[in-house]
Amino acid sequence: MSALIASTVHRGKSGRRTHLTIAVAGNPNAGKSTLTNAIAGSRLSVGNWPGVTVEKKSATFDFQGRKITLVDLPGTYSLSPYTQEEVVARDYLVHEKPDVIINVVDATNLERNLYFTLQLLELNIPLVMALNMHDEAAQKGFRIDIDKMALMLGSAVIPTVATKGEGIGRLMETAVAFADASETQRPAVVSYGEDIEKAVAAVAEQLKDHADVVSGHLPLRWMALKMIEGDARAIEHYQTEAYAALTEKAAHHLRSAHGEDLEALLADVRYGLAAGLTRETLRKPEKRKRELTERIDAVVLNRYAGIPIFFVAMWLMFKLTFDIAGPFTDWLDGVVAGPLPRWAAALLVAISAPDWIVSLVTEGIIAGVGSVLVFLPPIFAMMFFITLLEASGYLARAAFVMDRLMSAIGLHGKSFIPLLLGFGCNVPAIYATRTLENPRDKALTALLIPLMSCGARLPVYVVFTAAFFSAYAVTVLWSLYLLGIVLAVLVGFLFKKTLFRGEAPVFIMELPPYRIPTAKNLMIHTWEKGKHYLMKAGTWILAISVFVWFGLNLPWGVEAKKESYLGKTGQIIAPVFAPLGFGTWEAASSLLTGVVAKEIVVATMGEVYVPEAEEKQEASPSFGEDVRDIALSFGCAFVDAAKNVFSTFGVATMSPHEDEETAGLKSVLAKTFTPLSAYAFMAFVLLYLPCFIVLVAMRHEFGSWKWAGVTIVYQTVLAWMVAFVIYQGGRLVGL
């Protein structure tokens, strides 16, 4: 096997550079993100790779007096041209040319990890291997000959245990030393066998005068291999079509000897080499012990127990996410609705600001900030539990258990969790689609999430069921949730046949060993998502809130809501709702404001139907009392969240409770709605476009307005059609 190493290469002159770039690459589940966190910790910043929905994590920090930029590449099994993650990783490596690659390898799963390492070596970038989970491998009785491995790869191999921070210091020192010597410290050129090497040499000989190769931008051996593999993406991107004829000659020879599929031939050869390397460097105990993971899976994936366990796990996750977040959301809501605008108003009045400024600040800006903040607790909680599920290994099992059901409507097993979270709140649910790798699965899941009836729609149902269906309120409530689910199935099926026509993405997925996630990892992921949401989505949400405020309050000074822009727009669009049974400007205006948040439909109805009930002056508490209340209620939120965790019964977000303020509204509604039109109205509220926060979250998560646009259109059409069928159908049968 020592013949594997041909040579390390060329070019002189090494100087200490002041800024080094380190790329971290490796298989999923190899502990790459834990290792990156161990190196960079809270200095990591999260964004998206340009043009794709793949998350990009990077950090710039000082190390031994130098500036280091660490770029965490997406976890991939290969550098094939077929998935977004792989293309992102290889484009980065080829175009940005990091000074050194840290290749994170799972020591308990050497062969498949080395297959990826071999592909990294082709890029001719200095490579340092982090042989991670070294402790776990030792525990299994694995003995790995590290020196031999380093020699064969022409790289350094550093044993690490990322979860405990072991080996991280040495890893970084070695990586920096390799980057310093990057001119000489090239990795081994692993021989792919006589036939392939001959072809590579022939293609490389011709490619030598390609401009990008001459300038050193394109790794020669890598490009030659891509041409032989017939990698259309690389060939098009680097404009090497002109060399196709020559490649064809070399490839033809290979094909006649080894069969038609050269891409498969290369994969096969790489695996052969990975197996060889593993044989040479790894000693395993004779008898394989039955591992803990297998013992857990025997129960968790059991034919009979698997599904009940799955549902218990999901129920717990849902409950904990929203029960923990709930009290904090209420607390934020309280602060933003009460003391904050009061203080601001007092301040603005003191400096004699005009009324409209006071209103803009208190009802527009502060309320806008409020609508950004209230989603922070559920996003934090969701991210915490999703990371927990993912890092522990259960998420893959959940997908395994649910895939059959979800694939029937063209979804992936992993789609279940975001959809479930949607019943609590659609916003964190949209963010939860990040666990889906394939862009098609991700988009389709996100499109169906708004059909899951979120907690904010419940107040609308509660008022209407109390007014019209008090005798069978629970049945009516359930029927609405069910309506959403049934329509999600139908719409999913329809989208599968239209917007997402074509081959369903593959399911092929590793079931990683169960592992205990580290607290640090959980904290970092949770914090990052929240921070990112605030910075990226927050500005949009705030801007739209202020815009909506203008709509509600202009022209300035109108007393009657009917004369405001909102009321006027309501009058204009009201006829559209006439065939649905609620063609009044009041209903239309309420629906318009529901775009801010669906529970606002009720608040607006309260204002437009019973304006006299609105003014309820309370004595303003003093500043000191306010501050004490805020602190006190924050303490209460903590206690409530803790209580919720321990209380076994009742899902807080779904318990229908009636506001005393809406009591007056009920009697007015009874006059303008019939039971039939009330039901049509509730169905419409369930289905019409989601609140704009969801749309902003979609924009944020997908990097474009495309899917948010599709959602707006399809849901509006769907809501109208369903309400139409309910109302007109009901009238036909004489309801």
């Binding site: 099994y77 290969s78 094939s80 077929y82 998935t83 799963n109 062969e111 498949r112 297959y115 599929d261 891409e263 498969a264 994969a267 096969d268 695996y271 993971t293 297998e294 899976d297 994936l301 059991n302 034919r303 009979y304 698997g306 599904i307 893959a396 395994f400 258990v401 895939d403 059959r404 059901l405 694939s407 097993g413 593959v506 399911f507 092929i508 997925m509 590793e510 079931l511 990683p512 060993p513």
Partner: protein
Amino acid sequence: MTLADLKTGQSGKILKISVSGALKRRLMDMGVVPGTDVRVEKVAPLGDPIEVRIKSYALSLRRGEARHIEVEGTHSS
């Protein structure tokens, strides 16, 4: 015979992948290459997908995907 025909607990050796393009590359990237031993460990509670052990790790795939993997049965245990 294909991988989808193996029952839980049965092992086989991979002969070839009878599909091309992205699916084939993906399978090969995950270690499904000719000559490799594979063993069906579990079937999901609803009958699909299946879990196999290959190159000493656990891989799950749908039956529809497993049907593209030709195997020769070795022994069962």
